[in-house]
Symmetry: C2
Subunit: 346 residues, 2 copies
Amino acid sequence: MTQKLAFIGFGVVGQGLAEILRDKAEQLHEKWGFAAKVVAISDPIKGALYHPDGLDISTVLDVIKQTGRLDDYPDTFGLIRGWNSLQTIRESNADTIVEVTFTDVKTGQPAIDHCRAAFTSGKNVVMSNKGPVALAYEELSALAKENGVRWGFEGTVMSGTPSLRMPLVSLAGNDIREIRGIFNGTTNFILTQMEAGMTYEDALRLAQQLGYAEADPTNDVEGYDARYKVVILAKTIMNVPLTTEQVACEGISHLTRDDIESAKDQGKRWKLIGRVQKQGTGAVAKVSPELLPLTDPLAGVAGAVNAITYDCDLLGPITLIGAGAGKTETGFSLLIDLINIDRGHI
Amino acid sequence: MTQKLAFIGFGVVGQGLAEILRDKAEQLHEKWGFAAKVVAISDPIKGALYHPDGLDISTVLDVIKQTGRLDDYPDTFGLIRGWNSLQTIRESNADTIVEVTFTDVKTGQPAIDHCRAAFTSGKNVVMSNKGPVALAYEELSALAKENGVRWGFEGTVMSGTPSLRMPLVSLAGNDIREIRGIFNGTTNFILTQMEAGMTYEDALRLAQQLGYAEADPTNDVEGYDARYKVVILAKTIMNVPLTTEQVACEGISHLTRDDIESAKDQGKRWKLIGRVQKQGTGAVAKVSPELLPLTDPLAGVAGAVNAITYDCDLLGPITLIGAGAGKTETGFSLLIDLINIDRGHI
């Protein structure tokens, strides 16, 4: 069955998914029996299109590339323009909402409201916005269940690297007692550069030049981004409630070349580690720089890459290493949610 | 629904699964809704038991521990003794056959015949024997499909580390163009010891003392074990046919301390790498020692551990590191197949 999609927001991540759907439609259908069509796009700046029979995704991407907006998408019989996000979610014939708005991670809005509207309208949601999972996981997962729809958010932790689906599907049966990982590629890039001889300031500047770090790098370098991911992992993989306030957080901005060198002398390496450990019925968690021995698989992870180790009672430590960001990588995180909704799989 | 299991063979791996089922029954049921009962065990040396209402797994394990055989399992009304493997497969009321016989990997027997009998009797099979997948994948997967049953073999490549299920479920949508990995823990242990200063001969002797290597280590050190795993990965993940004869194979027994030291001087490390790469409609594959730069995630994998990197068109390289052997780990590989059969998942 062709899954009908409505994109709410159409920035880099949404376009990343749209490009995959355009470029790989045939392969997805042949190899995985997956088919999707985009029936709506609603973006507060770029404009909005809805056609119950589907939009032409190549034309959409061309028009966006040329004008930055959707206005020049050609008129066709039945095309509706100008629907806002909530109207699109409620009134379109989409099966699944691709929620890729610019969302304030501190409030989770507007993505939380979009999830509520979608679930109560009987529509699935896939998204990579962290806020709704970190802040409203219990409410929203219950609401999705109640309405018999699915909520996919693989991309919230390590982009398309399957840090959520892999343990849920493939490590089921293990008691996962601890999870720890490198959840922020920007800081890992900076630490790798510092090991190669740069100062913190120079490494940060390079990260900004390469587009890994934002002009205000606080969210990355102080560990706040990693903290959200730790909370999401605690809730979804360990099934323990945890708020961001409960996660002690220390970043890397105070680390000096001396710290890096003295670690080297000890045969160790500084990494910004997010860590959550089960304790009784709850969990303790923190984000902080840790001195890892070089034998730790996380110690070898270099550059703007993410990695995670699950400590399993039956299997022992299982480590997954891969991209933690990127247009295509995060676009894929939405695709894998769509594919597994289609399969009726986790 | 409680899944009824018949164990064909009851050595280390089978007992590993039985112990998990005994020790974690309650948690498996509460957290994953999974329940199983063992209705039959048939082992050519230890004896055979069948009871359609189920055997008491604790008693079975106690009796085996004390006597090495099943004869002392107490008589109960309805208990049948002495059925051979094929009779157990065909005539028991099991839903799923746990195929854990001692199987010759070169012929795949008796496991291949057991799979055929199970599928044509409408029973699922889970197993960790490599032979049937390496030698008869096309026939057996078609036969399982035709009979509407499932065939799980997660444990054939990296024991319980989900080297097969992870890509099939969580990387679907990617074209995986190349797979490479450390598929043999024994040789990786030897190479790690050689880096720490041992000769090949001493490292091998230590591996034998620790039970990692067999008295005749040929299968591990010449790369034959890794070669089977490469063939299984090519067939199941890349969907390309490949025979073991088509995989060039070179082991580590010729590597000297000098080779290891000269690699160190170049900032590199020797690893026994299995590699398969798509080429046209087929694939090229080999097993050989490779000099890896230390920045490669596989270079950092130390000791008796396995690791695999999937080169994905959308996601880039994804690496998974974990156990490649062990009683509980391989027992878990069977459990995760059972759990996902129960869920109706891949």
